[in-house]
Amino acid sequence: MSEILKTENLNKSFDGIEPVKDVSFSVSKNSIVLITGENGAGKTTLFNLITGLEKTTKGKISFNDNSIESKSALQIAQLGIIRLYQQPRLFKNLLVWENLVASAHSTLGNIFLNLIFKSKSSKQEDKLLKQKAIELLTKFGLQNLSHQTAGDLSYGQQKLISFCMITMNGSKLVLLDEPFSGLNPQIIEKFSNMILQMRDEGVTFLIIEHNVPKALAISDKHIEIKEGVINKIDNRIIAWVN
């Protein structure tokens, strides 16, 4: 089982505060790892370090055996680590399907010059992407939202759609920051199934959650963080799943 992500002695300190003191763990490909801990324990900082939004003070992070601790947020996202934020981040003035197409990874439509010099193929690609977006929404049973303005959706719907955007992007390692917060049980159920579905299609997930029972139900590994260090790692869940 190869490790898609590994951190070694990760540390973040500034102004006398050390939100992340010494964190080492690894994530196997295709697994779902749950990270829990109290507010302020350092979980979000950990995510920020992995995704490059904050700079590591000490320690190493490797993604598919490439070290990324000194890479920028943009580079890391381009390498294939993307993140779902606690407050859903969508393009509120665009339609839902447009949100998805805009999320797709390295397309022709990303570059201005392609508009002019590769206009035919970029048009075709755009058409295909729109199809793919609708298919994706249908797969998750959300196709009725496809032509709504993203800003008009309910909180729960926005969370689900932002997950669809991540899926559309096709990245292999996805960090979910409190995905279930603010959602009712039915939507949590739906969301959990979506996550499991994508795991089966080859995506690895790292989840921060407070709603431990629901999250444990889908996780293979559980890491608890307390005051910037790992308190315990629970691998027993793997035994259950298998």
């Binding site: 943009l74 996202a77 934020y85 981040r89 197409v101 397309t107």
Partner: protein
């Protein structure tokens, strides 16, 4: 009759300016106080190349557009990194610096004396030298830009530009560079404003720094905010309101001496009311968040 064509030409110029502001404000969500800068670069480069080097209009226009692109590119690298209000302050700084340069670099711009004798354009052998021909000339440019937008608004790049406006961190997290999309808007906006400037310079045949001040930038911004940002109809409406307002005042027989101030008072009032009560503007699709 000529007077109507004069109004038409000014309307066309302001429609172009409003559309250029819309690119930055409506599509990219960047509030810019520097639209008059690119308007001015377009006008001055056109004026200088025609009067000092005797270039033809097309050559002058090309150089003007190129200059706008270069300045916009440099500026986008500087200011693209900062958030909202500070971007606006950076545009404010650009506007003030531009005015200082135009006003003081006398060997090149003639300072407050202005540049006169800008000859009329000669397009395909035809001399554009009457209000009616300028109205047609300006009208064709407006048509070109509108057609450009009808195409551009449907492209995937535009989608990403608007996505960057809506949430640039989300765009970044998805592996795309938000600064790139802001840059495209800044450059496009500069080109359109530059074209407006070149039309203005050849139309009035005399330009001086007083047409390209902070007040002018504020005015252009107001036009697009009042008319509404996002779709094409908004900026066009805003320009129409701005140009026709004084005509309305004249019709109400307001004396010329107070008409100018009255127009600005009404315009300022309109701006405050829109911002306060209808932030999308009259026909806007998008609220500045």
């Amino acid at each position: 009759m000529n007077y109507i064509f004069h109004i038409l030409v000014m309307l066309e110029i302001y429609i172009l300016l409003a559309l250029s502001a819309n690119q930055k404000v409506g599509l990219s969500g960047l509030i810019s106080l520097a639209q008059a800068v690119f308007y001015g670069i377009g006008a001055y480069i056109t004026a200088i190349t025609i009067t000092k080097f005797g270039f033809s209009y097309w050559l002058a226009l090309s150089i003007a557009i190129l200059s706008c692109v270069i300045v916009a590119l440099i500026f986008s690298y500087i200011a693209g990194k900062v958030r909202e209000l500070y971007f606006t302050l950076a545009t404010l700084a650009l506007q003030i610096i531009f005015f200082a340069v135009v006003y003081n670099w006398i060997p090149v711009t003639n300072g407050s004396y202005g540049i006169s004798g800008i000859t009329n354009p000669k397009i395909f052998g035809l001399n554009i030298n009457s209000p009616i021909s300028f109205a047609l000339f300006g009208g064709i440019w407006v048509l070109i830009v509108i057609l450009f937008y009808k195409w551009f608004l449907k492209t995937p790049i535009n989608r990403l530009i608007q996505a960057t406006r809506d949430d640039q961190i989300a765009v970044l997290s998805l592996g795309k560079n938000p600064n790139y999309y802001k840059r495209i808007s800044i450059i496009l906006s500069a080109i359109i404003a530059g074209i407006a400037g070149s039309i203005y310079a050849t139309y009035t045949s005399y330009i001086d720094p007083s047409s390209f001040t902070l007040d002018e930038s504020i005015l252009i911004l107001s036009i697009v905010l009042i008319g509404g940002a996002g779709r094409i109809i908004g900026p066009i409406t805003g320009a129409i309101i701005y140009i026709l307002l004084p005509e309305l005042l004249k019709f109400m027989q307001m004396p010329d001496s107070i008409a100018a101030n009255m127009r600005m008072i009404l315009f300022g009032l309109l701006l405050v009311l829109i911002v306060r009560f209808k932030p999308k503007g009259i026909f806007g699709k998008y609220v500045i968040q």
